[in-house]
Amino acid sequence: MAILVIGEHDNKTLRPSTLNVVTAAAQLGTDVDILIAGAGCDAAAQEAAAISGVNRVRVADDPAFADGLAENIAPLIHGIASEYTHVLAPATTYGKSILPRASALLDVQQISDISGIEGSDTFVRPIYAGNAMATVKSNDALKLITVRTTAFDAAEQSGSASVETVSGGGDAGLSKFLGEELTRSERPELTTADIIVSGGRGMQSSENFAMLEKLADKMGAAVGASRAAVDAGYVPNDYQVGQTGKVVAPNVYIAVGISGAIQHLAGMKDSKVIVAINKDEEAPIFQVSDYGWVADLFEAVPQLDAAVEPS
């Protein structure tokens, strides 16, 4: 069985999500290729070649692939999919944009956001915001799958795969990338951080988030937020953790002023240890927390900041 992993990258560096997907792919077979579709993406391809367990990196270098436009990349996947039994992509906004388009072109019913593999055609995936786990068997000859990255460990990076070029796809003439406004931060990335300090509606303002950022910096943590905090404009959209935001599973998730709606829990309940700080002792977040502290966050957070040792 040959498996194709769709590598996620920004041409210069490979996104860590690719490492988790390679681990999932390795559970299906030993013949794992990675597709790097980009423009001037040599560096990303070299990084992919260093992932342990990868057989071959296939590079499609074309200006049309520079910005991850699904209209241009999906036909490329369509063109080479017949060489594989499985095509896997991370369940990130990148993978979610591209893979369903390729699936429809291939007339395959994609399996989204898998968190477990029971066999070459049988997979476990969360449904209803993770309130139920479905085991599904695919009867399509080819399987297209997006992978929940937090459910699989990152692959090691001590391999040396061959790098080859591949062609196909190109500018479909349907869409044009205009620009991006990315959040720049020195903090760890939310989806791979060991510690996350996350704020909710209880933070009350954008300014008050500085308190969480200070604590996060002291602990070497990433900063997250609930939907309520993002909707209120306290922090940018890429902070959002939840059913429709990012799914995270750090060693410690510190929920501050977050009540714990099921949509938020869906994004963080696989964290190893959950800490909740909330003044409402009835808040649902306490039902899933390992350590709950009923306190006014404006007093508790500075106290916690003083009590932790710098990382």
Binding site: P100, L174, E181, S289
Partner: protein
């Protein structure tokens, strides 16, 4: 320009789902159903385009059981002009839904199809992308800002790293994210008026689509439960627990 808005009837977002004892799925009997929250945002955006003069007609379309007519009536009460139900199994797969929607799109020739980025039951996040593929149209996924100016469509997408701006060739498909708009509530007079708006019913065979499922649900189970832990009463106690009990910092 016509705008087509595919919508889905799902368990109300505020209800905690229960898994059936026979592990065949989740309990849908006697459970409050509602329009998928992302679909409400899609309906709202389409109505705003008509109110802003960029669209002439808003057509809501649902794929699902006959009770989906209630969901379509909600869309009509919000302001959609007419509705189409493609009567199908309660949980058709996204690829089959996309094929049905392609059939409806071919019949109606809209300039824009707006739908939710995902349904909160299956959490698949596929249908819009698949529809755009089958139509060979451009797509903006996870859209938090939409600007339609004649045949030019510009969208802002919420991506993992922040925001991204894309220009799409019309006609196109848009899947909407949470922050695109605040959907309106239907007023009582509009609910009454919606009862008189046209609602056509089609079957998958009318559209020539084979609905045979590709996936087999082997079982549906509860996720592993997390037990509530202990309460702490000071920062020192919390840090001590994290360091010496959980050993995570």
């Amino acid at each position: 320009m016509k705008v087509l808005v595919p919508i889905k009837r799902v368990i109300d977002a505020n209800i905690k789902v229960r898994v059936k004892a026979d592990q065949s799925g989740v309990e849908l009997n006697n459970v409050k159903m509602a329009m998928n929250p992302f679909c409400e945002i899609a309906v709202e955006e389409a109505i705003r385009l008509r109110e802003g003069g960029q669209a002439e007609e808003v057509i809501a379309v649902a794929v699902g059981p006959s009770q989906s007519q209630e969901t379509l009536r909600t869309a009509l009460a919000m302001g959609a002009d007419r509705a189409i139900l493609v009567e199908a199994d309660p949980s058709p797969e996204p690829l089959a839904v996309a094929k049905l929607l392609k059939g409806v799109t071919d019949r109606e020739s809209p300039g824009l199809v707006i739908l939710g980025k995902q349904a909160i039951d299956g959490d698949n996040n596929q249908t819009g992308q698949m529809l755009a593929a089958l139509l060979n149209w451009s797509i903006g996924t996870f859209v938090s800002r939409l600007k339609v100016d004649g045949s030019s469509v510009q969208v802002t997408r919420e991506v993992d790293g922040g925001l991204e701006n894309i220009e799409l060739v019309s006609p196109c498909v848009i899947t909407v994210d949470l922050r695109l708009n605040e959907p309106r509530y239907a007023s009582l007079p509009n609910i009454m008026k919606a009862k008189k708006k046209p609602l056509d019913v089609l079957s998958p065979s009318d559209l020539g689509v084979d609905m045979s499922p590709r996936l087999e649900v082997i079982r549906v189970v509860e996720p592993p439960a997390r037990a509530a832990g202990v309460k702490v009463s000071s920062a020192e106690e919390l840090v001590d627990k994290l360091k010496n009990e959980a050993k995570v910092i």
